[in-house]
């Protein structure tokens, strides 16, 4: 096995830690691309999910559309977006836009569905108590429903984030940025240490993000519902894919 020393040599080579193709730059690109997609997906998914959960209007429709969204292969979404963005912007249209749009489509369903499930799942007795105390609809939403839904909402964000971080490697197929470059370039050059290094970096980033969310989930869970929410824990679904 000369693979492992090869990987070790790859990691200790200072050339791999500098410049636009270096590890820090690639990690930043990966995070920036993922963050851009997650922010946009978060705004859309939470706005729709929470609104639908609060009003119960269009709920079946929104959740069904989100569930169809889950079935879409991200690489295919990137592929159908590409001719459009390439026509608009010949520079970046082939690189970053298809990737970010594909990741947005990947991230919306778990965020939306959990936003809906969290808000609509709040015990109706509690919501009525809020109203009985004189809260208006909006106050009930922000002071009762959203805080109680928070653990479920954060679980949705966590699931979306993990999937996006893992799937953002696909951007490299279209010449886009991020850690996927090590995989695609490593394969093109049959540079196996580079590919393994890419695998390790993606895995490490994935686990680091998971760790951050595990802490965040705890932090946003109102103290009074901690025990209960563990019992009813809604685990992130496996979607998107490696």
């Amino acid at each position: 096995m000369e693979v492992i020393p090869g990987i070790a040599r790859w990691f200790v080579d200072p050339a791999h830690w500098q410049g636009p193709a270096g590890v820090p730059a690639r990690i930043l690109e990966h995070l920036a691309m993922s963050a851009a997609a997650l922010v946009i997906a978060g705004v859309i998914g939470l706005a729709v999910g929470i609104w639908v959960g609060h009003t119960r209007r269009w709920a079946g429709f929104a959740v069904n559309v989100a569930n169809i969204g889950r079935a879409l292969p991200t690489i295919a979404v990137m592929a159908i977006v590409l001719p459009v963005t390439a026509a608009f912007d010949s520079q970046n249209g082939f690189k970053v836009y298809p990737a970010v749009i594909g990741l947005i489509v990947l991230a919306i369903p778990p965020i939306l569905v959990n936003g809906y499930a969290g808000v609509s799942g709040v015990d109706s007795d509690i919501v009525e108590s809020g109203r009985a105390m004189g809260m208006r609809g909006r106050e009930v939403l922000w002071n009762v429903e959203v805080p109680l839904a928070m653990p479920v909402i954060v679980t949705g964000l966590r699931s979306a984030t993990s999937q996006v971080i893992a799937t953002a490697t696909l951007a490299a197929l279209f010449g886009g940025p991020g850690l996927g470059r090590y995989l695609v370039e490593g394969y093109a050059q049959r540079d196996y240490p580079m590919m393994f290094a890419g695998v390790i970096l993606v895995g490490a980033l994935f686990l680091a993000i998971e760790g951050v969310f595990a802490l965040a989930e705890r932090a946003v869970t109102p103290v009074g519902v901690r025990q209960r929410s563990r019992d009813l824990a809604i685990r992130p679904g496996v979607g998107g894919g490696p």
Binding site: G60, V63, N67, I68, R70, A71, L72, P73, T74, I75, A76, V77, M78, A79, I80, L82, P83, V84, A86, A87, F94, P110, V113, N114, Y116, A117, S120, G121, V152, T155, S159, A166, T169, L170, A172, L173, F174, G180, L183, V184, G186, Y187, Y192, M195, F196, G198, V199, G203, F206, L207, L232, I234, R235, P236, G237, V238, G239, G240, G241, P242
Partner: protein, 229 residues
């Protein structure tokens, strides 16, 4: 933007790539189902095995597919196994989670009642536990199938023996030909959505008593209703 004439010229290839896509999906889902079923049964019998199994399959799931397919080439060459092995490995986490959740959802009273009526442990497993776990088993099959359909595309990275409809995407990238990339993307979306709808219909027929969701988490965990009480 799109060269429709090229697409019309390649309908034959579209058809056989669709078949290839379905073949790779079916083979991988079948093998993954069998392995995961074994793992799930083992882990409900011997609970200590559950965490390592979920951890191990979860770790496999973090390996980017862009790496796993090519890294198998030196080992298995350009054979079907090079595409099927990663697809099977990726399906395990989905299957095991759903199977274990399905067996766990069988109420303890029912198991006791089965023991009381004299079932052997094997008889109880096949006649009581498996039938009651079916909603989550079926949900797992649906989720794993849809996920595998998406991942088959990535195997197109390895060349023209692989990839199903995803092969068009890679070929289009190689030639900087947006039409071919678009065709591959559109066709594989159509296939994924159609299979998801078909499996949802199958799910309704097989488990008509399960309240159809308003899903939580995922199509897989959709049927995990809150515990009544």
């Amino acid at each position: 933007m799109i060269d429709w004439a090229w697409i019309l010229d390649h309908l034959d290839e579209l058809a056989w790539r669709t078949l290839q896509h379905l073949y790779l999906t079916a083979a991988s889902v079948a093998i993954g189902f069998a392995i995961a079923f074994g793992l799930a049964v083992w882990s409900i019998r011997w609970r200590a095995a559950l965490r390592p199994i979920l951890g191990g399959t979860g770790l496999l799931y973090t390996i980017p597919s862009l790496a796993l397919f090519p890294l198998l080439v030196p080992v298995t060459g350009l054979t079907d196994a090079t595409a099927i092995i990663p697809l099977v490995l990726y399906s395990l986490l989905i299957f095991v989670r759903n199977f274990v959740a399905g067996f766990d959802a069988v109420p303890a009273e029912i198991l006791e009642a089965a023991d009381g009526t004299g079932y052997s442990s094997r008889g109880r497993f096949w006649s009581v536990e498996v039938p009651l776990a079916i909603p989550l088993i079926v949900a797992g099959v649906r989720l794993a199938t849809v996920s595998t359909i998406a991942l088959v595309n990535i195997s197109g990275l390895l060349g023209d023996r692989f990839g199903g409809l995803g092969f068009f995407i890679f070929e289009g990238i190689r030639h900087s030909f947006p039409t071919e990339i678009f065709l591959g993307g559109l066709a594989s979306i159509a296939l994924a959505v159609a299979m998801d709808a078909a499996l949802q219909a199958a799910q309704r027929r097989l488990t008509p008593w399960v309240a159809q969701p308003t899903a939580v988490g995922s199509p897989g965990s959709a049927v995990r209703r809150p515990v009544p009480s």
